[in-house]
């Protein structure tokens, strides 16, 4: 029996897996775009990690949208609980975690023991999620790693008033047609997203001293800046932001 444990997070856009050792240290990670046959993909990713780390027989805990599809998972837990557990393991303190994933954004109030005190999620709509940026950024030909620079260099934000992803896309097209600068639109888009997130977190913001950011979108510096600007205080980016859920899963007692 190995003392290693495996957590896998089958998200709507990407699937993440980690192997932790007995002390909770990360031994290996994996990340792929989610495939339609989620169960097969999970099995393959786990097998590869096992081969790499020698984690034969390690318990596998599954979370995320596809959590029920993982063959041989010893436990299935929702991503809310796993994110709280994962961020607490990484940062060791209470706070408000904003997880911006592909299809949903969650606000999770984590208490001083790593448990969920309260949570909220966007419903039935991709506005305010990674998907929102994925749809719109190609229109601007703005590469992901240049976003922060563009955000900071924009003299002012061009207001994007639609929060609906589909409407915002057409709004951006008409802004471009009207000769607005790409940088300004990038800034406007991120400010609009930050606004959505703040509305989602609502009253939980008052109950927490620190806002933490995880999920794929946390790798986007422009989003970190926009959220910090909106909140009037810097936002903590959680280490390994995409893997927080998988880490929390691995830390769940099997």
């Amino acid at each position: 029996m190995s003392a290693l444990r495996i957590g896998i997070d089958l998200g709507s856009t990407t699937t993440k897996a980690v192997v932790l050792d007995a002390s909770g240290k990360i031994v290996a990670t994996a990340l792929e775009r989610s495939e339609p046959r989620a169960g097969d993909q999970a099995q393959r990713m786990i097998a590869e990690l096992v081969r790499k780390t020698g984690a034969e027989g390690a318990p596998v805990i599954a979370t995320g949208y596809g959590r029920k599809l993982v063959p041989g998972a010893s436990k299935v837990v929702t991503e809310i609980t796993c994110h709280a557990r994962g961020v607490f393991a990484q940062l060791g303190r209470a706070g408000l975690l904003i997880d911006m994933g592909g299809q949903d954004t969650k606000a999770i109030l984590v208490d001083g023991t790593g448990r969920v005190a309260d949570f909220a999620m966007n419903d039935k709509c991709a506005a305010g999620t990674g998907r929102f940026l994925e749809v719109i950024l190609p229109r601007l030909q703005a590469p992901w790693d240049k976003l922060r620079g563009m955000y900071q260099s924009a003299p002012e934000a061009v207001q994007v008033s639609s929060t609906c992803t589909v409407f915002a896309e057409s709004e951006v097209i008409s802004l471009l047609a009207n000769g607005q600068a790409v940088e300004g639109i990038v800034r406007g888009l991120h400010d609009a997203l930050a606004e959505r997130v703040v509305a989602l977190a609502g009253r939980m913001l008052e109950m927490s001293k620190e806002v933490m950011l995880s999920g794929g979108v946390a790798n986007n510096g422009a989003m970190v800046d926009a959220l910090g600007a909106r909140l009037g205080a810097p936002v903590t980016v959680v280490p390994e932001p995409s893997h927080v859920g998988a880490i929390g899963a691995a830390l769940t007692p099997p």
Partner: protein
């Protein structure tokens, strides 16, 4: 009114019930001999009687028009006043819920949408208008009304909904307006409501050709009071730990108190249910094995997901033991007074909780949680029912401050297109995990 029609109606009303009861018992026996058993505790015996009552009601309805006067009414209308005039009463809301349980609600709602009713309108209204337009119903046939009766104590939607029906069916509509009670009950407003009830009675007398009889009105008020009190007793059995029945059961067994209130069979039914629950409680039968956490439910149920949702919760030892919705029919009805049937009806129907301000709703949720020993509250944010869903975020904050765990769950009581099963189940699971 034709004699043959009347005979058909009476036959359906009096003979069909017992026959159905016997048929139901035979089917249950056959099922048992084939070895089919449901998971969980045995079904409440009363359920068979419930089916019999409601089936008889809908069956008689097929022959009602032409035999007796027919009224279509909203769930919050003082139906008691109709009883002495011999009306057959149709509840479009109850019918829509039935369509939802049978998963035919959306199909009917779409008929109304194509006709021009916007999707933002309550799905009960859409389903009912669709059913009227297409003449389609899972119960065979709904009798044509002689009059439409609406009361604004549940929402303003009913006014526009019933106006649409009135023009479609070309029948008169009478609306009782119950001013919203922001704070303490308002005596002036209640006098205003009483005057409208008087007018409604005069209208019913005219339509039915039967004279007003105050003694009979008093008797019906007494019957309604008794049935509502029995319903309250039934609900109170869920205060036992573990509870002998759940909020999901209550949603099913609420049928007669809504549709047959004021009739002796309704009272008899709840006496039977009360006795069965008392027996269950005595024997310590729990509806959820290993009941660990008890929840309050706010708003109408997600009719088409009742079973799935109850199983999801029960698997983790969670039980909904009380709901603001089912409690609604026990909350004010004990105020019925047989010596003042009209004045008391004005009070009963003006003070329904959905016609009252946030202060009352917060206090109500707090006291239900306390009395039924709950540690969490599920607030169903019902896309269809705006008046019931507005304010739930504030309610949730208040209750969280009291130390209760809360979840605002997006859904719809009828329209499955406005409900994301995957998301809802994920939220519910996360909510339950947070109790660990």
């Amino acid at each position: 009114m034709s004699l043959i029609r009347r005979l058909q109606y009476e036959a359906a009303d009096r003979l069909a019930g017992p026959m159905l009861g016997r048929y139901g018992r035979l089917r249950a026996l056959a099922r048992r001999s084939r070895g089919k058993r449901r998971a969980g505790p045995p079904q409440l015996q009363s359920t068979r009687k419930l089916k019999e009552l409601l089936t008889t009601h809908y069956l008689a309805g097929r022959y009602a028009d032409g035999a007796v006067p027919v009224a279509w009414v909203t769930s919050g209308f003082p139906v008691e006043i109709l009883r002495p005039f011999g009306f057959h009463v149709v509840y479009p809301e109850n019918h829509a819920a039935l369509c939802a349980v049978q998963r035919q609600g959306v199909q009917l709602a779409q008929v109304a949408e194509q006709w021009g009713v916007p999707r933002d309108t309550c799905a009960y209204a859409r389903c009912d208008i669709g059913s009227t337009l297409a003449q389609m119903t899972p119960v065979g046939r709904i009798p044509r009304p002689d009059v439409l009766l609406a009361c604004t104590n549940i929402c303003q939607t009913v006014v526009y909904w019933y106006r649409t029906l009135a023009s479609l069916l070309n029948v008169p509509l009478f609306v009782i307006d119950t001013p919203y009670q922001y704070g303490e009950p308002d005596a002036h407003a209640e006098r205003f409501v009483a005057r409208q009830i008087e007018e409604a009675i005069a209208l019913c007398a005219r339509i039915s050709g039967v004279e007003r009889d105050d003694g009979a009105l008093g008797l019906v008020a007494r019957e309604a009071k008794q049935a509502s009190e029995l319903w309250g007793e039934c609900l109170a059995y869920a205060k036992r730990k573990p509870a002998p029945w759940s909020g999901f059961d209550q949603f099913i067994h609420i049928g007669p108190i809504v549709t047959l209130r004021g009739l002796p069979e309704c009272t008899a039914y709840y006496r039977m249910l009360r006795d069965e629950l008392s027996e269950r409680a005595r024997l310590g039968i729990a509806v959820v094995e290993n009941e660990k956490h008890r929840l309050v439910w706010d708003n109408l149920p997600v009719w088409f997901e009742l079973r799935e949702m109850s199983q999801l919760l029960a698997r983790e030892g969670f039980n909904i033991v009380v709901t603001t919705y089912t409690n609604g029919w026990a909350e004010t009805a004990p105020m019925f007074d047989e010596h003042d049937p009209i004045g008391s009806a004005a009070r009963v129907y003006s003070r329904v909780f959905i016609n009252r301000g946030m202060g009352h709703r917060t206090a109500l949720l707090r006291s239900l949680a306390k009395e039924w020993g709950c540690d969490g509250v599920l607030l169903h944010s019902n896309r269809s029912c705006k008046p019931y869903s507005v304010g739930q975020l504030d309610l949730a904050s208040q209750l969280t401050r009291d130390g209760l765990r809360t979840l605002v769950l997006d859904g719809d009581h009828l329209d499955s297109r406005s409900y994301s099963k995957e998301q809802a189940e994920g939220r519910l699971s996360a909510f339950m995990e947070s109790f660990a």
